[in-house]
């Protein structure tokens, strides 16, 4: 396994003294999609910020493709798709201008765009299927379109590591599937992708790996080993809806297997097997 991203024993304390993250460690290989799963306030955004050096680490370090963070950013290796709340949607800027900002790291100091830059913007628009919206002001888009624009900016940036903070919040299932399909293409091109979400249902479907977070890393590794009932309940605690459909409610024979359904109000995750189901059989929307 060739390592793309190493987070090594990272702790973050905010100025008000709040310990948002403690001793977080995990590794992500090149050519993988990883889900960063945790409840609100569990430190997902904080983890992204520490990967990019936006917050000072009180302990630990981060390595991106073998480089320390600062150097990796200078080399334009990291693309970041921000949370929607972090963007001022009234800003007078057109869709194509936002995507062109992904190219700034490739331009000279006057930021003059050349033919290649325009081609990359065009390609990115096509890949997220937003060609018809290039002249729109960004506030005139739907929730899903807004996410796709910032994903397109990451595509135009052509970086090796892509970090997406809650790209599925406020997005319909169809857009979510589109974004996920695109991320899988990128994985196959050898990118390192980290997606934060609290949308349980899509994780086992789409992500090779999972990192469970709640102010520290609860579990990290391949989805099928991380996504167990124990781990999920630890990560979500009381927030999780838990239904067990077992034995006689499910069928009339004496099969003792049961269906376990864990939901955080969006897509549920379905665990099928004997008590304390350990692997995921299937997930889907209800």
């Amino acid at each position: 396994m060739k390592t793309g991203l190493i987070v090594n024993n990272v702790s973050v304390t905010y100025r008000n003294g709040f310990n948002a993250l403690q001793n977080a460690s995990f590794k992500l290989p090149i050519g993988s999609i990883t889900a960063l799963v945790g409840i609100n306030g569990s430190g997902k955004s904080t983890l992204f910020k520490s990967i990019m050096g936006f917050v000072t680490l009180s302990q630990g370090n981060v390595e991106i493709l073998g480089y320390p963070v600062k150097q990796a950013l200078k080399k334009n290796l990291v693309a970041y798709v921000p949370q929607s709340e972090d963007i001022d949607w009234n800003f007078p800027i057109l869709v194509e201008d936002v995507i062109m900002m992904g190219r700034y790291g490739h331009m000279n100091f006057l930021r003059r765009s050349n033919k290649k830059d325009h081609q990359m913007v065009e390609l990115a628009l096509q890949r997220v299927n937003m060609q018809d919206y290039r002249k729109r002001q960004i506030g005139e888009l739907s929730g899903g379109q807004k996410k796709r624009i910032f994903l397109a900016r990451a595509l135009a940036q052509d970086s090796e590591v892509i970090l997406l903070d809650e790209p599925f919040t406020g997005v319909d299932v169809q857009t979510e599937d589109q974004i996920m399909a695109l991320l899988r293409e990128l994985r196959d091109e050898g990118k390192v992708i980290l997606v934060s979400t609290h949308n349980l249902g899509s994780v086992p479907e789409f992500c090779d790996r999972t990192v469970l977070i709640n102010r520290t890393i609860l579990a990290a590794g391949e989805t099928k080993t991380v996504f167990t009932q124990d781990n999920l309940q630890q990560a979500f605690g009381g927030v999780l809806r838990h239904f067990v459909l077992a034995g006689d409610t499910l069928h009339e024979d004496d099969d003792t297997r049961q269906v376990t359904l864990l939901s955080d109000h969006e897509r549920p995750v379905v665990l099928y097997g004997n008590e304390k189901a350990e692997t995921i059989t299937q997930a889907g929307s209800l």
Binding site: D86, D88, F91, L94, M101, Y104, R153, Q157
Partner: protein, 284 residues
């Protein structure tokens, strides 16, 4: 016919009017460019704060017998830095902190003025002396204008990205701290060198109004810059011109024109939004 032409061209015959036209136009351009960034960054009151804060710097510079511009610049930039520092380290919002810092500094300046005999006149700082400006003033304002325009040509796109999405700017390795302080420094310089000529009240207006009018009208940043410069230059020119006939002070006349334009723009854009909403009852 000829008489009418003579009447209309009368303002251009006087040397002091010619200088006033040149100065306001030279100043209208950099302040319009800056106002676009300030309005979008949420720093509209930064111009207000910095221009009040320069007062103690000017008095102290007089005391130390150094050029007033140095004292004014140091005081102005200290206000901006103090605001940033207190905001980072407290729960207060930026506008509150700004208000505290600049009112304190302005008051300090006023107190110093009563204790120290100096050639600083509050009237001049507040209202400037547009009609009494010298060739030296023109050179200074031209210099600052050139500096701001050059900076915008070289770093305007980086600044835009910094204002729009600081995280992306950081993620692609742009020097965001440099951009932050560069914007504040260039703003302070503009204020310092225009105070003497046009006064605080006009500077503050020039640093907010063009950007906000353009913001109401534009969908893209490139257009916003153009509209802001157009608004700023035309109001400044017309303001000086009209003031000649009204026998009013030029600075408030310019501001009145911009306010009028703002009101018209506001009504027009809200009407347009309403009619669009009526045409398309359900955009969901």
């Amino acid at each position: 016919m000829l008489a009418l032409f003579e009447l209309l061209s009368e303002p251009f015959y006087f040397g002091f009017m010619q200088q006033a036209f040149i100065i306001v136009l030279l100043l209208a351009i950099p302040s319009a460019l800056l106002s676009c960034f300030l309005v979008l960054k949420g720093w509209s009151l930064m111009g207000d704060a910095i221009s009040h804060s320069v007062l103690p710097g000017i008095v102290i510079a007089y005391l130390l017998a150094i050029p007033y511009a140095i004292g004014a610049f140091v005081a102005g930039i200290s206000c901006a830095i103090a605001t940033g520092y207190i905001k980072e380290n407290s729960r207060l919002k930026e506008d509150t902190v700004m208000g505290i810092v600049f009112s304190s500094m302005f008051a300090l300046g006023l107190v110093l003025m009563t204790k120290i005999e100096s050639d600083v006149h509050l009237d001049q700082i507040l209202f400037g002396d547009l009609l009494g400006s010298s060739g030296q003033d023109i050179i200074e304002v031209a210099g600052i204008s050139l500096l701001v325009v050059l900076f915008m040509v070289c770093k305007g796109k980086d600044l835009l990205l910094f204002v729009f999405d600081k995280q992306h700017a950081q993620a692609i390795g742009l020097p965001v701290r440099f951009l932050h302080y560069a914007l504040l420094s260039i703003l302070s310089l503009t204020i310092v060198f225009s105070l003497k000529a046009v006064g605080m009240i006009l500077v503050i207006a020039l640093l907010i109004a063009p950007g906000s009018i353009a913001f109401l009208l534009c969908n893209s940043f490139a257009n916003m810059l153009k509209v802001a410069v157009l608004v700023s230059c035309s109001c400044s020119f017309l303001g000086v011109y009209i003031s000649f006939y009204l026998d009013s002070a030029p600075a408030p006349t310019i501001i009145m024109l911009m306010s009028l334009l703002f009101i018209i723009t506001f009504i027009q854009t809200t009407q347009r939004a309403k009619s669009i909403n009526l045409d398309v009852p359900d955009t969901q």
